[in-house]
């Protein structure tokens, strides 16, 4: 029986590339090394509700049709739309993302990634102040101080700490966890915080205050700090600043506690400045804990193809970007799109109510392997093969390292790449006809 080693897990941004999969009769019968999330991804092939056929909503019900009929119905929606939102594309390959950007350009749409509700503010912060980063390999081999700020890898990236950070053993970090200092900054004592040497509990929404206080101390101005900042006693902040300054190599991993809280992108902006300040004393970097396995890839592909990492508006015939204006959520809240493609992501589950209400009112094309809340709102549903299991492709890990995802088994479903190509061709055909 074929045993495939070093398969890449296509679930979270850790993109673990050491999964061993046993395949018998085109079925995965054994999965080794995967975490609870990755395991669920691989067994999902056989246990979760796949969308079995393309579907079109008729009289309120989704009915099965052929791929050709679904592509034609979707293309008609796109051609008659004056303001299409194309959203998602983060649980798929870079090759499919490239096709999706081409389709958005062809249809004068706005295309945005799941970063809109995740690390979008980090991209803005990187543009404001830069993003001093490193590969996860460098963290594994060099980092002796690791901070998790507003993130909970025990739950969201379960193998991160053992493969790349706190517990991993590397060239200069051969003692692993014993020789690393691990700090967690969060608003509640998470399961990650329980494993830390230092847990700093901050008042929700006051990250910017704490970053600013840390910067003041790192820059030799602890006299300006009041006795408490962000609910944290001054002595504790000084201790944290000293830990960072005295590190040989420090990495701050940050999550949605930072990007989604008050001050949003200004938190990342300030964090980048803190890293810059720390680099006057030692080596320090920051890395966003990315969610979807290829949301980083979307940023990469979109940037090299359009100049912008997300929220790109092609309405004027050239790429235009202004996330507060062209971000998927803002558009929906303003009730601006008259049609939407939701692909390799689930806006129905992950957008706030006002945005979902508008999605429910407009024609929605869904491209996804699995039924989910977006399916309940969709008018055309196109099932796709799962990248990393049924299709090969490229994905970027959270540290922007690209990895090749293998195809492990055959599938009856079209790949996202093929679907996007078919859609683009059909749109061109309909436009020529017009």
């Amino acid at each position: 029986m074929p045993v495939i080693k070093d398969a890449v897990c296509s679930l979270c941004g850790s993109l673990c590339d050491d999964i061993t999969v046993t395949v018998e009769d085109n079925k995965i019968t054994k999965i080794e090394n995967a975490c609870i999330l990755g395991h669920s991804k691989f067994v999902g092939m056989f246990e979760h509700d796949r969308i079995e056929t393309p579907m079109i909503r008729k009289d309120g019900e989704l009915v099965s049709v052929s791929y050709e009929e679904a592509i034609e119905a979707a293309a008609k929606i796109l051609v008659s739309s004056r303001r299409t939102l194309s959203y998602g594309w983060c649980s798929t390959s870079c090759e499919a993302i490239s096709g999706a950007i081409q389709l958005a350009e062809e249809t004068g749409s706005i295309i945005d990634s799941t970063a809109n509700v995740c690390h979008g503010p980090s991209a803005l912060a990187a543009q404001e102040k830069g993003s001093p980063s490193a590969s996860l390999g460098e963290i594994k081999n060099r980092a002796d101080v690791i901070v998790f700020w507003g993130c909970n890898p025990v739950h969201a990236h379960p193998r991160h700490m053992s493969r790349y950070s706190s517990f991993s053993k590397g060239f200069f970090t051969e003692k692993g966890r014993k020789a690393r200092t691990m700090a967690v900054i969060d608003v509640r004592k998470t399961d990650t915080a329980k494993l830390a040497d230092k847990y700093v509990e901050i008042e929700q929404g006051s990250d910017l205050l704490l970053v600013t206080a840390l910067r003041s101390i790192v820059n030799g101005h602890e006299d300006v700090i009041p006795e408490t900042v962000a609910g944290v006693p001054k002595a504790e902040i000084i201790e944290l600043a000293e830990t960072l300054k005295n590190a040989k190599f420090a990495c701050i991993f940050f999550g949605m506690g930072v990007t989604q809280s008050r001050s949003k992108y200004k938190n990342g902006d300030a964090m980048s400045s803190l890293i810059s300040d720390l680099n006057q004393h030692t080596k320090a970097v920051m890395i966003g804990m990315r969610g979807h396995y290829n949301v980083t890839g979307f940023g990469q592909v979109a940037t090299w193809e359009t100049g912008f990492p997300m929220a790109i508006d092609f309405a004027k015939g050239y790429p235009y970007y202004n996330p507060g204006e062209t971000g998927a959520n803002d558009l929906l809240v303003r009730e601006e799109p008259d049609a939407a493609i939701i692909a390799a992501a689930d806006a129905g589950a992950h957008f706030p109510q006002k945005a979902v209400r508008h999605l429910a009112r407009i024609p929605v094309i869904q491209i996804d392997p699995y039924a989910n809340p977006t399916t309940e709102l969709a008018d055309v549903v196109i099932p796709s093969a799962i990248v990393g299991i049924e299709a090969e492709g490229t994905a970027y890990r959270m540290d922007a390292i690209s990895l090749h995802m293998k195809k492990l088994i055959d599938s009856k479903f079209k790949t996202d790449e093929e679907i996007v190509k078919d859609l683009t061709e059909k749109v061109r055909e309909l436009k020529r006809g017009a």
Partner: protein, 127 residues
């Protein structure tokens, strides 16, 4: 009895394990709850598993009560997903990102039951 809380959402391992199994009851169980510490649950007169109505200026949602001693007083947590997003803030403050953390909420015990995923989405279609 109603209490005022500061509502946040976030990932959990169970929510993540059901990302591609959202039609399953496991997803409902993994996401349709609100965590408070036991002192807050006591103030509400609620036990784990009771139904809680969580209301914000944006909407209201019914979810199960769950205890988490890691939460400071007044901090409520609902795993990311359609139940949390029913009541979180759509305002992006001009940077694209909605307010998924730090939304003032009022919480009380209710006889209403949490809606399953499909029933919750149906409410959007009826709206």
């Amino acid at each position: 009895m109603k209490i005022k809380a500061n509502l946040i959402s976030g990932r959990t391992a169970d929510q993540g394990a059901h990302l591609e199994a959202k039609t399953h009851k496991g997803y409902f169980d993994a996401c349709a709850y609100c965590e408070l510490n036991s002192a807050d649950l006591e103030r509400l007169g609620a036990s784990e598993g009771d139904n809680l109505k969580v209301a914000t200026e944006f909407w209201e949602v019914v979810v199960f009560a769950k205890a988490n001693e890691g939460n400071p007083d007044g901090l409520a947590f609902i795993p990311m997903g359609p139940w949390a997003n029913a009541v979180l803030s759509p305002d992006t403050h001009g940077c694209g990102m909605p307010g998924f953390k730090g939304v003032p909420a009022e919480i009380e015990v209710t006889d209403e039951k949490p809606l399953d995923m499909k029933s919750l989405m149906k409410k959007y279609l009826e709206d």
